[in-house]
Amino acid sequence: MWTTERIADLVQSGRVHRDAYTDPGIFDLEMERIFGRAWLLLGHDSQVPRAGDFVTTQMGRQPVLMVRQRDGGVAVLFNRCAHRGSTVCSAAKGTVTQFVCPYHGWTYGLDGALLAVPSPEGYAEERSPQRRLGLAEVPRAEVYRGFVFASLAADGPSLRDFLGPLISSFDDLVDRAPEGEVEVAGGVSRHAYDGNWKFVLENHLDTIHPRYVHASSIAAANEQDDRSPTDGAGEVGVRQMRQNGAPNELWEGIGLWVAGGGHGYMADYHDDEKLVAASDDPVHVEYQKRMEAAYGPERAREILAVTRWNSIVFPNVSFMSQFGQLRIVRPLAAGRTVLDTYVFRLKGAPEAMFRRAVAFANVVNGTGSPVLTDDLEVYERLQTGLGADGNEWVDTGRGFGRDVRDGDNGLDRGGTGTSEIAVRNQFRAWAEYMTGAGAADAADMAVAAE
């Protein structure tokens, strides 16, 4: 029985009990108390451009669909027929004029309203299905700059309060488009691993792991002959693999920031000069020109000066603006997770930049990636290793007590670029969701030095 006290004991100063990753009862509670309450990113409204366009996904374990309305809005509905419970949509995406249940033909409008049932005279007047709900709407849904969020909880913080300072990471992504809009393009790829969903959120703000996890791809890329023929894909890929092998000083010097709610981001890692394009790269020169034309030189410089890399919005989003990459985390069980991987096109930017984003996605985030496959392997080895008794605690103590408050912007910063501040911060939020306790009652972490 997971009492509040027992759950609270799982998260302690600089350590976390392995049950947080492995226990099926904890997973059930996570689905209810975290994925059942938080704002979850479902996708982007560019995936459903015209009325009747839909995509299906999950919120926690519940099947939902996101569908464009005739009035231009986006509705988030439970994918569950009001009659006997079948899903009304089985495709990952598509276009419909109405939703028809395959079992008895109950038919719904794009807004979920029940339009027709077979042989309605079979119901007594007071039991007429027309009086009842259609496809139930998810309690709350909101769109921020095209990103569609929803919450299974009727009450709770507004989306804006939930995102807090991390709203600026979405702005960073969208502002980089000369037209001020991005769109999902290039397909949605999926991959899975037999490990806990929290591993990937921790990993994306973990700056120690690349040298170890990615040792094989770093070495292979370092030995790569630069003269070998490439159509551009190899160039993007080899450069990123080499970057993972950056010297320790670089990792120590980067910035790790965390905010309330478990969110955080990594910055001062790559910047346009080092990675996306050297300043004499013709594509980047053209891009800068278009940015200046769209925003004016000063604002364009300001936008491009943001050097943010991975941003995490707890509990289900990881994204990165410089190559327009985004991943949605879908937990299936304590030891099974699926990642949906998206690539964004910056509207108005040179098409070559989108091709680089696709190449980046293949090499770094693709199912057959020489980089990602080693991450996935390690997540699975974590899940296996945590089954061992003898040491029941996972250490999260690197940098503990050295985190610093970063002004009054609601952010804390790791004392060094290799601090485990992000893991501690995610677990602080985890404990808050799981126990219902406020921040002050949760495990101590940030600003311990103050």
Partner: protein, 170 residues
Amino acid sequence: MTGSSAPAAALDPASDRAAVEAFLIHEADLIDRRDFEAWLALYTDDCRYWVPLEEDQADPQHTVSLIYDDRKLLETRVRRLGHPRIHAQAPPSRTVHIIANVAVAREPEDGLIVVHSNQTVAEYRQNRTRLFAGRCTHRLVPENGGYRIAFKRIDLIDSEGENRGIPIVL
């Protein structure tokens, strides 16, 4: 076709098909024996090795792929497969390819041989066996009485599914 070059010789359906099939089996055998350097040597300098994400995917530039390697990336991929700290292949996978339904045609424009085949790869690693089934397209350059691979495309039937990582070549 109105090209100025001489028309390519017509294929002999029986003997060319047999030669091409033997070549595909040789390629698969090099993968299954994990002789990746020899496998890479079958590919041309301007080769592409492609496992698309979507059924009927038009191109590798505007849609992501499970794998899309030009020559440079393919060299890096193969070098990594030989690295002692490739966690995703420690221990390495054992694989066996089954190749069937081989059909051969010649491209009128450039004289390359286009081969369609069905391929099933069974992979065993860490007490689990997986199957990768798909349709393959090879474009082969006739060379010194044999062939080199300019292009290989593998359309997996579950390319859009929730697959665990694929660290091997197919």
